[in-house]
């Protein structure tokens, strides 16, 4: 069955997200309390748009919130996002709620309030910038389970201490693993006696706390 997604508030993010979700085959409804934004959003085909304040129960009712599978709160105000998600959860019994939060100090509080996923744009973006700016060797880091687990990619260079070593010779920190090696566009699931070569891309899964130790071990920096 087609999944129905409700997006409340926001404009640029909402527009992009709505288009992307529609392309993936979701049903998408948007609630926005700025009339001009609604008109602009209306350019998107197949998008349902409700003009109104999404923190008011009757507006959510009009948007048929009880039929939604996922609710996403994207307004600029933390308090509005909180109330939107709580209403969606408690009154309309939507399975999954997701909220943006501006103040990093409120992330835990939002989880405690029963919101299923909390995204803090500021900390997310600054973390990416930090990674990109200071660690050349790493091309990408993906965080899962609320940043507790990281999946990172390290490209092996000539001068790195791990170059030409076998996996069992490395002393990786606990709870970390080299899960996959990309070599000449081919994938290898490594074993203990697999030798790391220059140009390999290592896909490493580790807990967040170990990330720095691993980078140090791998790159010598």
């Amino acid at each position: 069955m087609k999944k129905e997604v409700l997006l409340v508030g926001g404009f640029h993010k909402t527009m992009y997200l709505a288009q992307s979700l529609l392309d993936k085959g979701y049903g998408v409804t948007v609630i926005n309390n700025i009339y001009e934004d609604c008109m602009a959003l209306a350019q998107i085909e197949k998008l349902n748009i409700i003009y109104g304040d999404g923190t008011k129960p009757f507006v959510l009712e009009e948007a048929e919130a009880h039929l939604m599978d996922i609710a996403i709160a994207l307004t600029k105000k933390d308090e509005d996002n909180l109330v939107i998600c709580e209403l969606c959860k408690k009154r309309f019994h939507i399975q999954k709620t997701l909220s943006l939060v501006n103040d990093p100090q409120k992330i835990n509080f939002f989880y405690q309030m029963g919101i299923d996923s909390v995204v803090n744009a500021i900390s997310t973006v600054s973390r990416i910038i930090e990674q990109q700016a200071f660690v050349d060797e790493m091309t990408e880091i993906v965080s899962v389970d609320d940043n507790r687990v990281n999946i990172m990619e390290i490209k092996v260079k000539d001068k790195m201490p791990i170059n030409k070593k076998k996996l069992y010779e490395l002393s990786l920190p606990e709870n970390s693993i080299i899960g996959y090696i990309l070599r000449n566009n081919q994938g290898i699931v490594p074993r203990g006696d697999t030798r790391i070569l220059e140009g390999d891309k290592l896909i490493i899964i580790c807990s967040k706390n170990n990330q720095e130790a691993i980078i140090k071990e791998m790159t010598g920096q």
Partner: protein, 139 residues
Amino acid sequence: MLEKRIVVVGCGRLGASIANDLYEQGEDVIVIDKNEDSFRKLSDSFGGLTYVNEGTRVETYEQLELKKDDILIVVTNDDNVNIMISQLVRKMFQIHTIICRLYDPQRECVYQEFGIETICPTYLSVNRIENILRGKRSA
């Protein structure tokens, strides 16, 4: 042991008058508002603490070192802000008594499981008007 304090968040008409009244009654009152000008609504004889800070921030309440027995009255002019502050403070300090003003009675359901007292001006006015009407009829 410190005396039980009453913290009023939002120094609007309601916040200022309740703060004035409680201070007159000898309570230990703290008023929080993000805007210093708002404190002009307090009477000249008000001797409680005024505190300029954003009521939605976690630090504001950490600095006050709230205790379980303190009382929180949340009366900013934004329902959603009031809801968030009430829940935040309840979670952070397990304060027993939190009273919160909500303009829109429809949002009350968000509170129910938290045991936060809500007052709704619309309901109060409806009750009062009905009482007056009833009085007129019976007279």
